[in-house]
């Protein structure tokens, strides 16, 4: 699948977020405006504490802004209940975490199936899609291994498979290569780039890894809670 007409997947309007850290007020986001279009392969880059993870959390409906709004494919996230946010996370967003965060008691294929299971996909279809996805990320032979039996790179590949198997509108990846060596990280980025190219999956990373920044088609720099172009 190529990249045809690009549509806005995420619109961010005047996003503000303040939180308390060690008794001090930290302004993590100070009026962010940003649009992410379908098929993008973008990275939010900035030093530690610049607000990139907070921005990703708010975009993913894990955190709520103090001010402003996040609109996913025309659906505002403002004023949504926890359960409605949970539904958006389930059906529209894929997550890749820095520490892989696979469910340790489930095998690779069961981890990939998990989101589809929550979506109510029928068992046979679920298993078929999960195995196909594992094949795409090069882990078909490891499908019945549990996370503890996989290397860090393999676990992150399973996490990628889990994030995109149900066809989310956007995949948010929080420093996906931070725990991987350069070679494995590079190979993972190649994989995601391929998936972006072939499936048109929209990827948005938060990173301070120069390798990720180099591969990103669009680099969004953030400093002290503000986007700096």
């Amino acid at each position: 699948m190529g990249k045809g007409v690009r549509m806005k997947v995420i619109e961010i309007k005047n996003l503000h977020k303040t939180y308390q850290s060690n008794g001090q007020e930290v302004h993590a986001l100070r009026g962010i405006d940003l649009d992410i279009e379908s098929g993008e392969f973008s990275a939010i880059a900035g030093p530690s504490g610049s607000g990139k993870t907070t921005l990703l959390n708010v975009m993913g409906g894990i955190d709520r802004p103090d001010e402003g709004d996040v609109i996913i494919s025309g659906q505002t996230m403002k004023g949504l209940s926890e359960s409605e946010l949970s539904k958006i996370r389930l059906n529209r967003i894929g997550f890749i975490f820095q520490a892989y965060n696979l469910i340790p008691v489930l095998s690779a294929v069961e981890n990939v199936e998990y989101v589809m299971l929550l979506q109510g996909v029928e068992k046979h279809e679920r298993r078929e899609k999960a195995l196909a996805m594992l094949r795409d990320v090069g882990l078909e032979k490891e499908s019945h291994r549990r996370p503890a039996q996989l290397s860090g790179g393999q676990q992150q590949r399973v996490a990628v498979a889990r994030a995109i198997v149900s066809g989310p509108e956007i995949v948010l990846a929080d420093e996906p290569t931070a725990n991987l060596d350069q070679k494995t990280g590079s190979s993972l980025l190649d994989l995601m780039k391929n998936l972006n190219h072939e499936r048109g999956t929209t990827f948005l990373f938060s990173t301070h890894d120069p390798m990720v920044m180099d591969r990103a088609e669009r680099l969004i720099r953030i400093t002290d809670g503000r986007i700096t172009l």
Partner: protein, 410 residues
């Protein structure tokens, strides 16, 4: 839902040692529960059965007020129609008795007793006195209803220094209120599991006692033995309409010995208190384990919520995990309990070192445990409820985990 079950099951085995400790503690609780319940119920059953087989019978037909006034004047003549029905009835056995308060005296001592006049043949079908009578050293059961023989307990024989073949004097009040006496020969010595019975009851032939008391063909009661003790009310309902005299009543063993019924209730209540203590311990043990398990998986549960898992699914997952622990513990306890009780059902639990106490209770010194299918089902329900109750707090806590907080929790 299948995945939730799968997750719950696998989570049980994440910390194998901890889960095994909890399963073992639940298993031991169940084993103790079955053991205590089995022995307690067995003791109650034996106490009731022994009391029924020595004195009460399952049902008794007698004059109103007889139980409070065991005197010849409270005797009655059952009408012919009633007796005909009794003779032709099936499903129970019966025997007539005359009961009178009396005194027996030997050359050494004397003792106040209740003497029962029995029909030796019929009595064998309603009571255990024949089995309790020694057939050794010349001792034997009564052979005739008319003979001037007497059966006394081993305890009474020792107290009065009597042996088989000795004579004692029976002194009682006849139907006219006059004191009368008779010399009787000790025909046999009996020993029952009920200490109080042995201390206060002696037997002679029915016609012999009718003659001594001067009551003619009157009797004090008709004792009925049903196929089992639970049929007593049914037998009462069957027999009652056959009576024409309103002065004669039918009483079940429960009505005649309310103190036994109260004692059983007291035992049961004590068991419930014991079970409550055991299961409270289990609740806290399981709850503690589940809280620890959730704290360990705080981050993971947060990730699951991030991925879109509903709080209800997390709640159910924790409940099922706890239920798995409970059911495994219950299976272990039931297997162990089944084995222990299975062996004890054959060998019995010998409590002869408490023989004095057991004699007072009337249960015998060897207790055979009794556990019913109902008890098994009750314990299944109790353990399941306990496991679910124990998991409620941890499950609510897990369901309320905020993904953002959990993601930052290492």
């Amino acid at each position: 839902m299948k995945m939730i079950f799968l997750l719950s099951w696998r989570n049980v085995w994440r910390n194998r040692r901890r889960s095994l400790v909890v399963i073992t503690s639940i298993g031991l609780g169940i084993l103790m529960m079955f053991f205590m319940m089995g022995i307690s119920k067995g003791m109650n059953y034996q106490m009731v059965d022994n009391t029924i087989s020595t004195s009460l019978g399952h049902v008794s037909v007698h004059r109103k007020g007889f139980l409070d006034n065991i005197k010849p004047s409270y005797s009655f003549v059952p009408d012919e129609d009633f007796m005909e029905r009794m003779k032709s009835s099936k499903g129970f056995s019966w025997a007539p008795r005359v009961k009178v308060q009396a005194m027996i005296r030997s050359s050494e001592s004397s003792r106040g007793v209740m003497i029962a006049g029995i029909d030796p043949e019929r009595e064998r079908t309603v009571s255990g006195i024949y089995e309790y009578t020694s057939k050794e050293n010349g001792s034997d059961f009564l052979k005739s209803s008319e003979a001037r023989d007497i059966l006394i307990s081993k305890r009474t024989a020792e107290k009065l220094d009597l042996v088989v073949g000795d004579r004692l004097v029976l002194i009682l009040q006849d139907v006219h209120g006059e004191m009368t006496g008779e010399a009787l020969t000790v025909k046999g010595i009996f020993s029952s599991p009920v200490g109080d019975f042995d201390k206060h009851v002696v037997f002679t032939g029915l016609k012999n006692l009718q003659r001594i008391t001067g009551i003619g063909s009157r009797i004090s009661e008709i004792t009925i033995k049903a196929e089992n003790r639970d049929l007593s009310y049914r037998i009462k309902k069957r027999v009652e309409p056959w009576l024409k005299s309103t002065d004669v009543v039918v009483k079940t063993w429960q009505e005649m010995a309310p103190s036994i019924v109260s004692a059983i209730r007291l035992y049961d209540s004590m068991m419930y208190v014991f079970f409550a203590i055991v299961f409270t311990t289990i609740v806290f043990s399981v709850a503690n384990t589940m809280v620890m398990a959730i704290m360990e998986r705080f981050h993971e549960i947060g990730v699951m919520k991030c991925l879109g898992t509903k709080p209800l699914n997390i709640f159910i997952m924790i409940l099922i995990e706890s239920l798995n622990l409970g059911l495994l513990g219950m299976a272990a306890g039931m297997i162990a309990g089944g084995l222990v009780l299975g062996v004890l059902t054959v060998t019995g639990l010998d409590l002869s070192f408490f023989s004095e106490t057991m004699s007072i209770l009337g249960s015998g010194t060897v207790i055979y445990p009794v556990v019913t299918v109902k008890d098994f089902f009750a314990s299944m329900v109790i353990v399941s409820c306990t496991a679910v109750i124990a998991a409620l707090y941890p499950a609510v806590k897990a369901a309320r985990i905020r993904p953002l907080k959990a993601l930052h929790f290492i």
